[in-house]
Symmetry: C2
Subunit: 143 residues, 2 copies
């Protein structure tokens, strides 16, 4: 299983982008929530039809946030694709074996569960990979 | 209705990116097809789970293609979000009234139907809007 979960969109102002999505008629937007581990704040906009698929609007909360450079260099914009997998450790090992560059190994992401108000037994886990010179992907195993 | 249909991803080599997606295990990929009106070639990768949602891998076919500048400036990458709407003329007018900049008014896109082997009575229509300084969206009304 490798299914699109969300598209990361970087901005210097979450509320500005959330306003754009609301104006387009996409009103199902979570409140902006800080994620101290990843040094970002995020809001999720539901853009799926029958299926929950999100745009994750991201804003750096610190100068050493992993998205600060992208924001400074490109002024923001579409940043990464996130795919849901069943077993993030196994899939991450497979991707490394296939030669993809892992930039963040699997780690907990409580903020995802909290932001989307998910009731879950385990904490959701995420990892990041560069799969081509211009494509960053995230893996997510939902708790 | 405003539902994510696909994410546009610009590259100088469709086959290279298609290979990346196949390596990730995403094997449902259409053959690259030229779209003379938009001056691009495109392949669609199905990345949805229960629902058909695509990554559209795009390569310019001419120097004056609308994606040539993006490719030259940023080296490619995630380019636009495409949302399905019921009535593209009506929605386009509404977005213009709301102050969004229309850069391509509704036009036929036979290539979408042909590429995805869609059987349809009307030709699919698309339009493009700049909705923030770093976000380009496409609307699509499927035929």
């Amino acid at each position: 299983m490798f299914r699109l979960d969300h598209i990361g969109l970087v901005t210097k102002n979450i509320e500005e982008l959330a306003h754009v999505f609301r104006t387009l008629g996409l009103n199902e937007i979570t409140e902006s929530l800080e994620n101290p581990r990843q040094k970002v704040a995020a809001s999720f906009v539901n853009v799926g039809g029958r299926e929950d698929i999100y745009v994750e609007i991201l804003e750096p909360t610190r100068n050493d946030s992993p998205i600060t450079k992208f924001l400074e260099k490109q002024g923001g914009g579409l940043h990464h694709l996130c795919f849901e997998v069943n077993d993030i450790k196994k899939t991450s090992l497979e991707l490394v074996e296939k030669g993809f560059k892992m930039i963040v190994p699997p780690e907990d992401c409580e903020a995802y569960d909290e932001n989307l108000k998910r009731e879950c037994n385990d904490i959701t886990k995420i990892a990041f990979f560069i799969v081509s010179d211009r494509l960053l992907i995230e893996l997510i195993e939902k708790g």
